[in-house]
Symmetry: C2
Subunit: 229 residues, 2 copies
């Protein structure tokens, strides 16, 4: 709906809500409350309500939010109801596992082909999708009007692959490499930040230790638990 006014922190929480809502729906529940969701995710119920409000769903007091409608709206806000075709560049182990990952279906994402420089990988098919030679990339993307590229090449090869995707007319790149990609304006990049995630985990582990010490001294424990989001 007015999906552009959902701010990023909220957007990033929506998939979590969706998982719970879907699970509750499968168990036949018709209404779900913000506090139920909050409890399971260790979040503040008000935050959950505010987030759900941005999806346009309206709950009824004493009962909660209607599960079916909420799920539909979450999926719409997440962009899961629109099907988008993507090509994947770099059909190594990581690339292959993404090509096989059937869950992308629910996210509205379908990978229609993989590309690789290595001739030994070219010609095989992974999960029914062909792995093609890099020569075919531009024509394939252009002919099919593909808008999204998934990048799972080595970091050294990342920029060149990007340039070719951009030249072929791609609009967005989902970057699984640690490289910072240089792209011209209208192309959007979203990177999976492994290093950042790991850094946060290291910090949580440290905080845990610190927390347990203050704990022994009769300190607070809630703030530590909250880390575990």
């Amino acid at each position: 709906m007015r999906a552009e006014c959902i701010h990023e922190p909220t957007l990033r929480r929506l998939p979590l809500y969706h998982a719970i809502v879907a699970q509750e729906q499968e168990q036949g529940r018709e209404f779900v409350s913000s506090s139920l969701i909050a409890r399971q995710l260790e979040l503040n119920p008000v935050q959950v309500r505010k987030d759900l409000e941005t999806t346009g769903t309206t709950g009824t007091p004493r009962r909660g939010f209607p599960v079916a409608e909420l799920r539909r709206r979450l999926e719409s806000c997440l962009g899961w109801s629109v099907r988008t075709e993507a090509v994947l560049v770099g059909a190594g182990h990581l690339g292959a596992s993404l090509m096989q990952y059937d869950r992308f279906d629910r996210f509205g994402l379908s990978i229609s082909a993989g590309f690789d420089v290595d001739p030994r990988r070219v010609g095989v098919s992974i999960a029914g999708k062909p792995v093609l030679a890099m020569d075919c990339l531009e024509s394939y993307v252009r002919e099919r009007g593909i808008v999204l590229g998934i990048l799972t090449v080595s970091p050294e090869a990342a920029q060149e692959a990007t340039d070719r995707l951009v030249a072929a007319g791609i609009r967005g790149i989902w970057n699984f490499t640690p490289a910072k990609l240089r792209v011209a304006f209208p192309v959007m990049v979203e990177r999976i930040e492994l290093a950042a995630s790991l850094a946060v985990l290291w910090k949580k582990l440290q905080a845990r230790k610190a927390g347990m010490e203050t704990d022994r001294l009769g300190g607070i424990e809630e703030q530590i638990v909250q880390f575990n989001r």
Copy 2:
């Protein structure tokens, strides 16, 4: 150093700074300025300075920050200077690609073994690391005092694998599955949020379209470019 007072948004940017600093160091540069980093990452230079300040590095006017020291301190804050052993559970395609991923070395992470329920995967070795049967998990973890588990099993198997890791005395779990894991307090979980990342990318793509329309009407373009972080 006083790594506990680094807040999360800053921490998540540190790997980006590190990549640039390392690159500049390899090119023989001795000083790097916050504005140079900011330009490359499309960030605000003040933010870069404030972030770098939390690492304890102090720059000198007109020259910038000393590259070698800055890099060392970044690595220390990121936890890359401490070596941590991990086990990986779920040696499928994704698991295998993580076991082979040599870049984890720099992050202070070393995966010493993989575990899998599938007997066809057990016994092989990936990147010189053994893939063992799940029966051996607890004893392996306990004997070696392993603190970190990497979870790359199917979402259905995630909770059970988690319970076994926790029972074996693991302290943190790096969760590559979409499952929300239930763990007892002192265990910390950090999840790679594919769905959230993809949702953000969908939104960027929409925003791009909207941005280009307002652009045509003589609007602003900077805020859109900023998305591309």
